[in-house]
Symmetry: C2
């Protein structure tokens, strides 16, 4: 499965910069190969140096273009950049229109950029875990800055972005409904609100609406920066980079920085607990009457799912 | 917590139609009150009669207006209708602009309609479970048709919709990015693709694009209906109702119908297992060094989360 390279060798080569072996490890982690988890444990002491920036927004908000610009700026600073794309419409995930994909190729041949895309579907609660695994591998490899691009709806995606060091939420002007969605939760996770496509009608109105929402929050709420960009013309990118820098500086002095590290550790731990405990439950069901028989009984209302779950937990747990 | 009414009494009164006590039970279930779970078990044998229709789409796709129209049509047939709204921008969730909310009031005073909204945030993987609980209570109360409205992105939301008897995916014309997102997964869960706001430019193109995508699928893939609606003018609603009816008829004759019931039972079971097992793990951590100390050690890289999770699972499981 791992191309014949022993685990410890592979870890050494990944730490030495092998993108090929790192990509194989990421795939093995996704496939739950036990040796891959052992290797990730060996990489873990080398993590904790990368700075993680989450970029989220609805499909069509232009966040991929912003991510593309950010890669360029950070590369110009001499930083090595990792990109995790978990947006099905992102060119980084291979889901974009042809023009976008060609534009991205300039980074594909840059050895200082490591791009990894993750599918948003079929992860059943594991999207966040996969992302954290990929971030950990890139971090251990010495990528200085890791950009995580995701669509901004769904608990999984929110989890991913909320545990980034800096969270950028991208919105576009004139979408009343989008503002509603932001109201409902996205606002809480944003460190930077980026009104992209700001050359469109209603950009100033959107900025004003967002500012008002921020002012209505609790006085103790964290500061949130609002800025305007026109991604396709690279306008406002310097300001976006400066806002990320400023937030990063703040984290050093505010208790929030350490809190985020703990929140990320907690999310990670519970995701691992969830997958391991459910795997044990599945094995127990399989060794008994089997999942098909059990779900059939529930579907026919012979057994209620609450009692079924309690019985399985009772048999499994000490 | 339950207003002084003993559990069995409350179950009787809920089965007798008390919306007030049903709403209290739903709230207690959300708060994980143990007696509420016992009551839900008592309601379970009365479930399995309601037909569940999922309606999903991006914010701004107009799905709330379609849901509103569907309520009217089913009420006109004399059916009792339950609505579960888990879209932050939905007027049913209280998140809409004033005009929408006033329009919805006609159903708020109709005793044949039971509307319950659920927050999309802060559920940490429990959104689907909460939805299934609410659907079960409405089902036991004799609501004939239950409409579940949700935003169409995020695994949790996809789970909710994919276990409905009929899944309606609402799209709007001219959004290339939206089509991309559909490509990535939503298409697989749709029984009916509803191109809403079909009076806008590009509606026929969107229908053509979707039709082509459907034709490119495996020959054994399930049939999917495509139709056009203009929700605000109630155009195409009869066709939408007819499409739901036709799909419902098909389910009776196709093996898919029983498969869905089993898939729903499985999703339910695993959600309950997940929450119960994680609660046990949390209790174990709390009785030991405590979560704050543990996550701090992980954040400081003294302990890797994989080893931590394995140790907890090892201590917890027989």
């Amino acid at each position: 499965l791992s191309g014949g390279v022993p685990a410890s060798d592979r870890v050494e080569q990944i730490l030495g910069g092998s993108v090929l072996l790192a990509a194989r490890l990421m795939r093995d982690l996704d496939d739950h190969v036990p040796s891959a988890v052992r290797e990730l444990k060996q990489l873990f002491p080398h993590t904790g140096r990368a700075y993680v920036v989450g970029v989220t927004g609805n499909p069509g908000s232009g966040k991929s273009t912003l991510v593309d610009s950010l890669i360029g700026r950070y590369r110009a600073r001499g930083l090595r950049v990792g990109v995790v794309a978990i947006d099905p419409s992102s060119p980084f995930s291979g889901g974009a229109i042809l023009g976008d994909r060609i534009r991205m190729q300039r980074h594909a041949t840059d050895e200082g950029v490591f791009i990894r895309s993750l599918a948003t579907r079929g992860h059943l609660g594991g999207l966040s875990r996969s992302t954290q695994d990929v971030v950990a591998v890139m971090d251990a490899m010495g990528y200085d800055l890791i950009l995580v691009e995701t669509v901004g709806v769904g608990q999984d995606e929110v989890d991913v972005v909320s545990t980034a060091d800096t969270s950028v939420v991208v919105v576009v002007p004139g979408l009343g409904d989008e503002i509603q969605a932001i109201k409902a939760g996205i606002l809480e996770i944003a460190d930077i609100l980026c009104v992209n496509k700001a050359d469109k009608d209603g950009a100033d109105r959107t900025v004003a609406d967002l500012s008002m929402m921020l002012e209505l929050r609790d006085r103790t709420a964290k500061p949130v920066r609002i800025l305007k960009t026109v991604g396709v013309r690279e306008e406002g990118i310097d300001e976006l980079v400066a806002a990320v820098d400023a937030h990063r500086q703040e984290l050093v002095t505010r208790p929030e920085g350490a809190q985020r590290a703990r929140a990320r550790a907690e999310l990670r731990l519970f995701e691992l607990l969830r997958s391991q405990l459910l795997a044990r439950a599945e094995a127990l069901i399989a060794s008994g009457e089997g999942l098909a028989v059990l779900t059939d009984r529930i579907a026919r209302r012979e057994l209620d799912p609450y009692t079924a779950a309690e019985q399985i937990v009772g048999a499994l747990v000490r």
